[in-house]
Subunit: 228 residues, 2 copies
């Protein structure tokens, strides 16, 4: 594979996108990495601190944090991630039928995020946008699937001058497999944040906390955020 000249990485500061950032810089040896963090709710200030830390740690060319919290206002009662009055559920409390679209779903979120990342890529001359979709999110979010990425790329292929392609190299990996890759790359997971509730300590019960916990269990390690 040719060395990447420039790449945009969508970086939330969570486990998946942080691993992706290190993968793009260290394994794919991208020369210039442009990290984009989009703030769209209030619960994730912790994630963004982590994103900033990680962007500095790998030495990106540029890290942009952009406030798109108007999305939360636009979607009003839309989602537990943007509306503080809708509680974030515990994974154990999610009914079977909610697994196909949990209350943490944000309408059309990933098309919004990717369209901005692709616009930035086009303007800095990067041909690739890296997106941390992984296999376990595909059950709940239609916009985390391989089909979704393929079809967005079909749209982008119409560009007459600068075609940008979305790459989702972890789309078939479980969180545990992803964690193994990141540990191999020396990622410091004490500086990542996954909990949807965004308090001082991870809650340990929301869907993303439970998935993170299981991933660390699967690789036989303790989560460095787990201080009890």
């Amino acid at each position: 594979m040719d060395k990447l000249e420039k790449a945009v990485v969508l970086l939330s500061g969570g486990l998946d996108s942080t691993t992706l950032l290190h993968h793009v810089k260290k394994s794919l040896e991208a020369n210039e990495v442009y990290a984009l963090s989009l703030i769209y709710g209030q619960k994730h200030a912790r994630e963004l601190e982590m994103a900033t830390w990680q962007a500095e740690a790998v030495g990106v060319k540029e890290h942009r944090l952009i406030d798109i919290s108007f999305v939360g206002e636009l979607l009003q009662g839309g989602s537990a991630l943007t509306n503080a009055s809708i509680p974030v559920p515990n994974l154990a409390d999610l009914a079977e039928n909610q697994l196909s679209q949990p209350p943490t779903y944000v309408p059309n979120r990933n098309m919004i995020l990717l369209s901005l990342a692709c616009a930035w890529a086009e303007s800095v001359g990067a041909r690739s946008v890296f997106y941390g979709a992984q296999a376990q999110d595909q059950y709940g979010y239609w916009d985390c699937t391989v089909d979704f990425v393929t079809r967005i790329n079909d749209v982008l292929a119409l560009n007459r001058q600068t075609c940008v392609t979305i790459e989702a190299p972890f789309a078939d990996y479980s969180k545990a497999e992803l964690l193994k890759i990141g540990l191999g790359l020396g990622v410091d997971y004490a500086h990542t944040w996954s909990c949807y509730r965004g308090k001082e300590q991870p809650c340990g019960a929301c869907p993303t906390c439970v998935e993170r916990m299981r991933a660390f269990e699967a690789v036989g390690l303790l989560d460095p955020l787990d201080r009890e």
Copy 2:
């Protein structure tokens, strides 16, 4: 055709989207119209005043104006529409090779606008987003083409609960045909704005001014904005 219950209309305040707004409310008889105006540069404050006037004139359920001018910052030197230091060209000065992508092109603009409109549609329970693409923009902008709309709809079709579809009923119409439809619907074109330069009076020379002028000529009328 069934009467539309709810519809989102992307409304810039220009000739095309204003005609579309009236078409959706009066011809398609949409019960509740949600008009969305997105501010992404500084040159179009006039357009937005017009959008507000037109939204009131047809009696929309809700009109949202959202400032996405961070897009202009993200794209830095990207486009004459978001960067005041890049001059808007006169149509007559555009070289042949610039016609396939003029300096007024904003990277991936329409995917950004449509992704936001579709998110809003999903959250208010509207199944249709109306988009004022017309035939004459297809030469210059890959993201104004029928193929573009078709492929975005292929992405949206993956949604597991609330499929939103983008409708571009004027995609095959010239600006003059569109103007005829609008005049038939009683649109007051004194309250629309097309000029890219956004001064007190339309400049009469930028690509959109020239196209507007030709459309009025083709229907044998004087543009009400043309006061000389």
